[in-house]
Every structure is written in structure tokens, then in C-alpha cells.
């Protein structure tokens, strides 16, 4: 057992800390709120050059071969100033490509994104699917040597701006069947693909994607026809772990801002931190934040676990803790800030909003609680 960072990891964290402090304070998010992309291509290119996008991908597909922990450390720091660049959408789409596709496909499709020249999106959610990636109504029907994709994907992170979109579509089976789901890499300019940009609460943007008979070739299919669910679930789990990592940055920042406020704000002639009821509230926030850190580490370590149920239960447990803890911490952060906490001018409200979005992404609290409770591991080892 070892929870220390290596020297390389410590240096990595320092680099990201320096980046967010000097080049990406929260004001950058505010400045980009009305921008139609919502993030900066320059900043993204820089993140690519620093190796942050490729850090946890295998060397065989152009990555740096690190573990997901490295990506998690970066995401945590990016969460501290709510950096808006599309790390999570790109990493999740890349995970699907690497897990489902061939090395050749992965190397080719990932290259622009890893360099920070392009970006990716994973189009999995549909109006009726809620958080079940197996609930796919979008169809890919055989057409000539390829397929024709018809259907609608909703709330696709970075769907408004991605160059390549990984889309799940049903090549066989009925609704929610675990077999019959295929993945395709689609170019954003493909004829028949309509992208409606939408705004999200966290000052980000996303896309509603309508596939109106989009034609794709055989070579755009990632992996065996109809057998993509495992890769898709892996990608969603990696996305959930990434949301936990960024969420931890959000949570700790909200905690720190609140503790700082308690130490400086005066009412009734004293610092409000001298009121015991508020002190204990801050301690409750601290406890949740510590548990979130513990569970984020667990999730990040288990993303790569070969045992699928081990991975799923660990990530579901972490997502439940981060959702619960994140909600407690950011709600209380607003309450302890008082009136200024409910203004758009004060940053604390932005942390509250981002936390809500991270909690919803890749499965909300009850979805993961239920998945955890239904795992075979839950009832294993019960005997005396």
C-alpha cells in the first residue's frame, strides 16, 4: 500500500497548479461564457503539448503510457479553477476508441486530439436512456459496404465543437439488449449530421446531435459489430472516475474558500468562524472532502482493474461519495457565504453549478448506488 505521489507525479501536479494559477484563473471561464465554443483552442493546444491529454493512454496508440492516476491528478487541479477545455469528453471518447478499436484506428483517430489540435466527443446518451449506455435506440443499418446511422443523441459533452464523434448505435437487438451495440467514429462534417449547440449550467456548451441517415464506412466501426457494450461501459466508467477527480478539485476549492470566508468575514463584531455551529458545519464539509479524496483515489486506481465487477463497484462507490459529498460541501459553501453566495458575481456559485453537472455526468448518485447494490460482489462473502 502506497498513497504517495512519485517525484514525477509531484512535478506534474506543480505544473498544473502553476498553469491554473497563472494562465487559467476562474476569470477565463467567465470570459468564455458567451463564446460559442466556450473553451480556447490555444489553451487546448498547450495542454496537448504538455502531454496532459495523452498522459494515461498507451504508448502503442501515441500516448505517454501513464496510469489513469496521472490524468486524475491533472483533472483535480483543473477543477480548482473550473478550466473549461474538453478534457473529460476527449478522454472518455479516447477510452472507447482504444478499448474497442484497432491500434491502427486508435492511432489515426487520436493523433489530432492528443496533440491538442482537435478534440473528441462521446455521443452515448439518448432522450430515453437516462444513464444506461445499453439503452440505445439510434440505429446503424447496413447500407452498401458501410452503414447508415439514424437517431438522436442528447447532451453530448463537447458535441458542439468536437472534430470526431464516437457514437453508439444499434446494429441488432431490441432496446436495452446488451448485445447488438456498435461504436462508430464519425466526422463532425459528415453529411446528415446536425449539431444543435446548447448551453449548460456550468458555463460550458454541449451538443444535441441528430443523425439523419449519416453514412459511415466499415472502417469507421470500432471493434466487432454488435459487441461494443463492454468498451462503452469502460469509457463511461472512466468518465465517471474523471468526474470524481475534477469534482475533488471543485470540492476542495469550495471548502477552502468557505474556511477563508469564515476566518475573514465579520458580523456582530467577531469573525463568523467563531460561531461554533458554523465551525462544525465547516468540519462536516472537511470530513466529506477527505472521504471524497479517499474514494477518488480508489476510483482512479480501479479504472484499469481487469475484474469488471471490481471496477464497477469501486467506481460506483466513488461516484456516490463524490455526489453526496460534493452536494453537501457546495450547498454548505453557499449557505456559509450567505447572500453573496447566491449572486452570479461570486465564484462560489460557479463551483456549485459545476458540481451539479459533474454529479449528473456518467450516472447520478442513485444510478450508481443501484448498480453497486446489484453487483454480484455485494452479496458475495456474506456467510460467516
Amino acid at each position: 500500500m502506497d498513497f504517495d505521489l512519485s517525484d514525477e507525479q509531484k512535478q506534474l501536479v506543480e505544473t498544473v497548479q502553476s498553469f491554473v494559477k497563472k494562465q487559467s484563473p476562474l476569470s477565463r471561464l467567465r470570459a468564455l461564457r458567451e463564446d460559442p465554443t466556450g473553451w480556447s483552442r490555444d489553451a487546448w493546444r498547450q495542454m496537448g503539448e504538455l502531454g496532459w491529454i495523452s498522459i494515461s493512454l498507451p504508448e502503442s496508440v501515441g500516448g505517454l503510457g501513464g496510469s489513469f492516476i496521472d490524468a486524475a491528478l491533472i483533472l483535480e487541479q483543473l477543477g480548482t479553477t473550473l478550466v473549461p477545455e474538453p478534457m473529460i469528453p476527449t478522454l472518455t471518447a479516447a477510452a472507447a476508441i482504444v478499448r474497442a478499436g484497432t491500434e491502427e484506428q486508435a492511432t489515426r483517430l487520436l493523433a489530432p486530439a492528443l496533440a491538442g489540435e482537435g478534440s473528441l466527443a462521446l455521443a452515448a446518451a439518448e432522450a430515453q436512456s437516462r444513464f444506461d449506455v445499453a439503452d440505445v435506440a439510434t440505429k446503424a443499418e447496413r447500407a452498401g459496404s458501410g452503414y447508415r446511422i439514424t437517431g438522436e443523441k442528447v447532451w453530448v459533452l463537447n458535441g458542439h465543437a468536437a472534430d470526431t464523434i464516437v457514437v453508439s448505435a444499434r446494429t441488432a437487438g431490441g432496446p436495452r439488449d446488451r448485445e447488438g451495440i456498435s461504436l462508430f467514429a464519425v466526422d463532425r462534417n459528415a453529411p446528415g449530421l446536425e449539431v444543435q449547440p446548447v448551453k449548460t449550467m456550468d458555463s460550458h456548451h454541449a451538443g444535441l446531435l441528430r443523425f439523419k441517415g449519416v453514412e459511415v464506412g466499415e472502417e469507421q466501426r470500432l471493434g466487432a459489430e454488435g459487441g461494443a457494450l463492454a468498451a462503452l461501459e469502460y469509457a463511461a466508467d472512466l468518465g465517471a472516475a474523471a468526474a470524481c477527480a475534477e469534482g475533488l478539485g471543485v470540492i476542495n476549492t469550495a471548502l477552502q474558500m468557505t474556511v477563508e470566508y469564515l476566518k475573514t468575514r465579520e458580523q456582530f463584531g467577531v469573525k463568523i468562524g467563531s460561531f461554533q455551529a458554523l465551525q462544525h458545519r465547516a468540519v462536516d464539509m472537511f470530513i466529506e472532502a477527505e472521504l471524497c479524496r479517499s474514494m477518488m483515489i480508489l476510483a482512479a486506481l480501479k479504472v484499469a482493474d481487469a475484474d469488471e465487477e471490481e471496477r464497477k463497484t469501486a467506481i460506483s462507490a466513488a461516484k456516490v461519495q463524490l455526489a453526496w459529498g460534493g452536494r453537501q460541501v457546495t450547498q454548505q459553501a453557499i449557505q456559509l457565504h450567505g447572500g453573496v453566495g447566491v449572486t452570479d458575481e461570486h465564484d462560489i456559485a460557479l463551483y456549485f453549478k459545476r458540481m451539479h453537472v459533474l454529479n449528473a455526468l456518467f450516472g447520478d448518485e442513485d444510478t450508481h448506488l443501484t448498480r453497486y447494490a446489484r453487483s454480484p460482489l455485494f452479496t458475495a462473502n456474506v456467510g460467516a
Binding site: 449548460t200 458554523l278 449557505q335 447566491v342 452570479d344 455526468l361 442513485d366
Partner: protein, 394 residues
């Protein structure tokens, strides 16, 4: 003991429902159905409709233009208005400064101000809080100095002057005796917002609505006849306001409506191929919240029955603000949960989410204010500990 309303009150409830159904313009009706945000003009349109019916200020005495409705009827009226999703009238004139003028004002002040509050001709806002005087209101610094010519000269800054940009007048707590300690040097002053030296600067809530403003006073000259109550006696007025009916603050009607909305969202949202409303966990969550709300409603009924008998608010009424505000928040947390990914939506064009879900994310954010404004819930608990439980401070 009897939980039922009298036949007269049941008949009055029907009258209110029928009136709302017939009197509310279709444009407002559509927005009400979707719990949309009402613009100022729309609120005032509805104000004037209610005014014609004599229902804008039913809690005022009949002789100053209120009504002869009893406590229970007033409650029924407000509950039905909430349940219908009607625009909430601006409370600053009708609920706050109006009753204070009735109680403490001179005959001239009553004549000057009350009719225009009723008619909606003059809109009010509240100038209590300052950047450094929130929970500790008595530490306010805005000062009003006697210019020796029958005026006060007002200098300072007020914040949370909600919707000041639409208001004509502001009622303020100002410091009129700098040498006196805290509460004792404060007066209650009415200020025309058109007065030179007064500037209103709106800013956004975290819900993205322009509900908040800061109001700056730079040597604004205010005639002394705008002082309400005794000089340096403003704190008494501020406290009198807190003693008024608290049965509305529980917002039971609004929360009943919100829970119905949660159920509708859950009924049309799919989970595992079935309506989310049939999911045992989610359904149990709604049920738990509805039961909490039912407890609050019963506490509210008890408070109303007491008020109907002319009693001072009892222990049951002290909990209404705390629990009412928490439940309002929880309703919208559940609505957001039901919406799933769509809960991320932020001021998108129509069609992106269902019409009645359009304003949910904004309200989810804004409603965090309910446990803060009107005295934070922490301050409320301090008061209950001291005044009701009798636990002494150190």
C-alpha cells in the same frame, strides 16, 4: 379538534379558483403552467387584476383599502394563488412597508402612500442589508444627517435591494445618531428613487435572473416628513415587521405545486424502460418529501387556526421559515434529479427541454437563497434556542 374547513371557507376557495381561471390572461396562464419567470410588467398586470377584485392586500384593514377577509380566507386566497402558479406580487409595498405605515405612519403618510401601493402605481423595494450588515443588520452604516432645512442627507450603500430597478420608492433603515450604540441610533426612512444622488445598479442572481440590485446614496436629500415612526426608533419598526403573520413564509402552496411537477417529470422520464415515477427509490424520495411537506402544512394550519383566534404566533410558527425554505430547495433538487442530464440545461431556446422544465435549473440555483434571506436559518435557530427553548447564551 377539526381539520376541515367550514362550508363558508370551502365556498370561498371555489370562488378564488373560479376567479383565477376566468381573470388570468392566457399569456400569464401559459407561463404559470410552466412555472416560468414572470417579467415585472407581467407581475404588475396581475397586480392590477387582483387590485380590481380587492385582493392585493387582504391583510390590510378594510378602512385603508384592505379587505374584511378573515385569517383563514386570506390563507386560502394565498394558497390558491400559489397553487395556480400566479405571479407572486411584489411583497415590499403590500406586505412590508404598507403594514408599517398603517401601524406607525402619520395620517398624511397613509394618505400619500397606501392608495398607490394598492393600485400598483408605485412600486417599492427594501433597503435594509448592506455589504457589511447582513445577519448583523444593526451594524448598518448608511447615514441620514439633518441638514437643518427640514431634510435628511443620506449617504451610503444598500444591497439586496431586490428588483430596485423596477421600483419607485425604497424604504430604508438608516443611521440618524452616529454616537448611539447599534440599534438605538437607527431610523426608518422612505426615499423616492428618483431623488438626485440615488443610483440603482442591478446584478444577477446565481439563477441568472436580474433580481438583485445595489442602491447607492450619495448625498440624497430626503424630506423629514418621510420619516416613519420616531427618530432613532427604526429598530422597533424593523422588529414589528418580523412579528407579522408567518404563515405565508412556509410557501406550502408553492411546494405542493413543485412536488406535483416532480411527479409529472418523473412520469414522462424513462428509466430502464419504465417511467422513473415507478422506480422504488425515486418514488420513496418523493414520498418522503411529500410527507415532510404534509407536516409543514399541518404546522401551518395550526398557526392559522391560532391566528384566526387572535393569538400571537406559537412555537409551531417559528419552524415554518426554517422548514419551508428547506423543503422548497429539496423540491427543486428532486426536480433536477428527475431531469437527469437535461438538468444541465441553462437558458436554452424553447424545445431543448420540456416547457415546464425550462426554469427548473435557474430556480434550483436561486432557491439556495431561501435559507439565507429573511434572516438565515442559523439566525432563526439562535432565536428559537433563546426565545422558545429558553437556553441562555454564555
Amino acid at each position: 379538534m377539526d381539520l376541515s374547513f367550514s362550508p363558508e371557507h370551502l365556498a370561498f376557495r371555489e370562488e378564488v379558483r373560479a376567479f383565477i381561471a376566468s381573470a388570468m390572461p392566457p399569456s400569464l396562464m401559459t407561463k404559470a403552467a410552466a412555472d416560468s419567470h414572470f417579467e415585472h410588467d407581467e407581475v404588475m398586470e396581475w397586480h392590477k387584476i387582483l387590485h380590481r377584485k380587492g385582493w392585493v392586500a387582504p391583510h390590510w384593514p378594510a378602512e385603508v383599502g384592505g379587505s374584511s377577509l378573515d385569517v383563514t380566507s386570506r390563507f386560502i386566497l394565498s394558497e390558491e394563488l400559489e397553487l395556480a402558479g400566479a405571479p407572486a406580487l411584489s411583497p415590499f409595498g403590500l406586505v412590508m412597508v404598507g403594514p408599517l405605515i398603517i401601524q406607525f405612519g402619520t395620517p398624511e403618510q397613509k394618505k400619500r402612500f397606501l392608495p398607490r401601493i394598492l393600485s400598483g402605481e408605485e412600486v417599492w423595494c427594501q433597503g435594509y442589508s448592506e455589504p457589511n450588515a447582513g445577519s448583523d443588520l444593526a451594524s448598518l452604516k448608511t447615514r441620514a444627517e439633518d441638514d437643518g432645512k427640514g431634510n435628511f442627507v443620506v449617504t451610503g450603500q444598500k444591497t439586496w435591494t431586490t428588483y430596485a430597478q423596477y421600483a419607485d420608492w425604497i424604504f430604508c433603515l438608516v443611521r440618524t445618531d452616529a454616537s448611539a450604540k447599534k440599534q438605538s441610533g437607527i431610523s426608518f426612512l422612505l426615499i423616492d428613487l428618483k431623488t438626485p444622488g440615488v443610483t440603482v445598479k442591478p446584478f444577477l442572481t446565481s439563477g441568472g435572473t436580474p433580481a438583485f440590485s445595489e442602491t447607492f446614496f450619495e448625498g440624497a436629500v430626503v424630506p423629514k416628513e418621510n420619516l416613519v415612526g420616531p427618530l432613532n426608533g427604526g429598530w422597533t419598526l424593523a422588529k414589528a415587521l418580523l412579528g407579522h403573520e408567518r404563515t405565508l413564509i412556509a410557501a406550502v402552496g408553492a411546494s405542493i405545486r413543485a412536488i406535483r411537477k416532480v411527479k409529472r417529470i418523473a412520469a414522462r422520464t424513462q428509466k430502464d424502460g419504465r417511467p422513473l415515477l415507478e422506480d422504488p427509490l425515486f418514488r420513496a424520495k418523493i414520498a418522503r418529501l411529500e410527507i415532510k411537506l404534509r407536516g409543514l402544512q399541518m404546522a401551518n394550519y395550526r398557526a392559522i387556526a391560532g391566528a384566526q383566534l387572535g393569538r400571537a404566533p406559537g412555537p409551531e410558527s417559528s419552524i415554518l421559515k426554517i422548514r419551508g425554505s428547506e423543503i422548497q430547495q429539496q423540491c427543486y433538487e428532486l426536480a433536477m434529479e428527475a431531469m437527469g442530464l437535461a438538468s444541465m440545461s441553462w437558458f436554452n431556446e424553447p424545445g431543448v427541454v420540456h416547457p415546464e422544465e425550462q426554469w427548473v435549473p435557474s430556480l434550483f440555483n436561486y432557491l439556495r437563497a431561501t435559507t439565507i434571506y429573511g434572516g438565515t436559518n442559523e439566525i432563526q435557530k439562535n432565536i428559537i434556542a433563546k426565545l422558545i427553548l429558553g437556553i441562555p447564551d454564555r
